[in-house]
């Protein structure tokens, strides 16, 4: 998190971007869907890390904003027949406002109280999605989202998704490495000291929460389109736990760590399901291993290995 994009990181980003752009050439619907899903969850996990890695708070309810973005997109496109751009803008704006209201309350608290309050709010969002059947479809889900014709096919949508996500990740990178991001790190590292250099720590944590919620909303609205629907599971707490695990697995002290975590978790899940039915068991073991041996996740491991190699020279 030094603040400058180093050459190797930039090269890696461009390589990943090119490889992702080449995926449709494999002409496998399975792979296109898989990678689209990975990209969406990568953005989702990166957004959560603004709260976890950058502001130093744990959220157990981040799925709420993913779901809010998704449902808003689904409902506006389908029920109200809005066109893509206004619907997308409204869904982002609504995620912004919703997370802003929740953040107002959550940032009054810290530590476990903050975490539990985020969980409580996410249960509220889930409750609304579950009960407001006429609007959200309740537990049947909101089925049959009208995706605009020009991206209705699988491959065009994949590219649409790639462009939106790449742009969102770039913007998020800038935010995390801006003056704001730097000051936010100070709040994570030592809130008392940060206050004594003139930083309003609560306001900073509010903004971190809102940035995180807004980008989760973007991920959610893409999710609603790729699945042509939105379901209450997306707002339920295990979804928040999944994205939290992705973030920890990839590494919260690295900007790209959570994206690596999202990709790893998805690929591991698919792989495991080929051979056994015990994915939750594998997941538990992975989580245990991260917490015990890799507190800085895969990205932290990579950095440690790199330092070792440099030292060995």
């Amino acid at each position: 998190m030094t603040g400058r994009m180093t050459r190797p990181v930039l090269a890696a980003c461009l390589t990943v971007l090119v490889l992702l752009a080449l995926v449709p050439l494999l002409e496998s619907n399975y792979l296109i869907d898989l990678f689209n899903e990975i990209m969406i969850y990568a953005l989702f996990a990166l957004s959560l890390n603004v709260i976890i890695g950058y502001s130093g708070n744990v959220s157990f309810g981040h799925a709420a904003y993913f779901a809010i973005g998704g449902y808003t997109m689904a409902i506006l496109l389908t029920t109200y027949e809005w066109s893509l751009l206004p619907a997308f803008a409204a869904s982002v704006a609504f995620s912004f406002v919703a997370s802003g209201v929740v953040a107002y309350f959550c940032t009054r608290l810290t530590d476990i109280y903050f975490a539990m309050l985020t969980l409580a709010f996410s249960m509220l969002v889930w409750g609304v999605a579950f009960k407001w059947r006429s609007m959200t479809g309740g537990d049947d889900g909101f089925v049959g989202v009208d995706v605009p014709a020009f991206i209705a096919e699988r491959v065009p949508f994949y590219y649409f998704s790639l462009v939106v996500i790449a742009t969102a990740v770039a913007v998020l990178w800038v935010i995390c490495h801006s003056a704001f991001g730097r000051a936010l790190l100070a709040v994570r590292e030592n809130p008392v000291r940060a206050g004594f250099v003139g930083i309003n720590t609560r306001l900073m944590r509010w903004w971190a929460f809102v940035v995180a919620g807004t980008f989760a909303g973007i991920a959610g609205s893409l999710f609603a389109m790729v699945h042509r629907g939105m379901y209450t599971e997306s707002a339920f707490w295990p979804e928040s736990a999944t994205v939290l695990i992705m973030t920890l697995l990839g590494g919260m002290y690295s900007f790209f760590g959570p994206a690596i975590g999202a990709a790893s978790l998805f690929l591991l899940e698919r792989l495991t399901n080929e051979y056994t039915e015990y994915w939750p068991l594998v997941l538990g073991t992975i989580l245990l291993a991260i917490l015990m041996f890799l507190p800085e996740g895969l990205a932290g491991l990579a950095q440690a290995v790199r330092r070792q190699i440099l030292r060995g020279r």
């Binding site: 030094t2 603040g3 400058r4 800038v174 935010i175 490495h177 801006s178 003056a179 704001f180 991001g181 730097r182 000051a183 790190l185 100070a186 590292e189 030592n190 008392v192 000291r193 940060a194 206050g195 004594f196 250099v197 003139g198 930083i199 309003n200 720590t201 306001l203 900073m204 903004w207 940035v211 002290y253």
Partner: protein, 251 residues
Amino acid sequence: MLKIEGLFKQFGGFIAINDVSFELIEGEKHAIIGPNGAGKTTFFNLVTGHLLPDRGSVAFQGEDITGRPPHRIVKLGLARSFQRINIYPRMSVFENVQVALIARERQELRFFSLAAGLCGPETNELLELVGLDEEADELAGELAYGKQKQLELAIALAENPRVLLLDEPTAGMSPSETEEAIRLIREIADARGLTLLFTEHDMTVVFGIADRITVLHHGEIIASGAPEAVRSDPVVRQVYLGEEEAVNGAA
């Protein structure tokens, strides 16, 4: 410059600061001394907004600042350092100081201006001033203790304060580090025209820097005046300095 009236703070049944009135005059270097538990740090915490007083008021340059949060008091030009190391351990030395500058320039809500190039020259200048220019890229948490203290001083200076409150600036330092720190603090205070208020255990430091001394005992001021007057004050000698060694600076 700083005017404190009837300050009172109680923790449970324990009276930490009892009706303290005090005035800091512009340009002076004022030491607050007193045995452990005399209330020195509590006093600092009350003045800088870290704690709320039960009674009494704090005014800075004629403006009542009682009960304001630290981040607003700092902006008025009242900065502090801490007795226990209080830095950002996982950030580089450079970033530790840079953040204070970002805050001072009110850029902490700039979402799209990259931090990498911000306040670079001034950050380096401050690091050079406290002798940390060579450690700029190291992680602050990995610095030696004495250097972390210097870093803390640089962070406090970055806020460009008019009044600087130092809570035991040489605590835990070796004698040679202490000597170096005294020289540095005096130099900086003179060069920048800072008003200095500091607490200290080490009498060499106190008499090496202060031109006025206030003695706290059980949360009350028992003496205040020029170093010589305080040194020879019989009450002070009795309750605090302990006759023989303190005057000679062993502490």
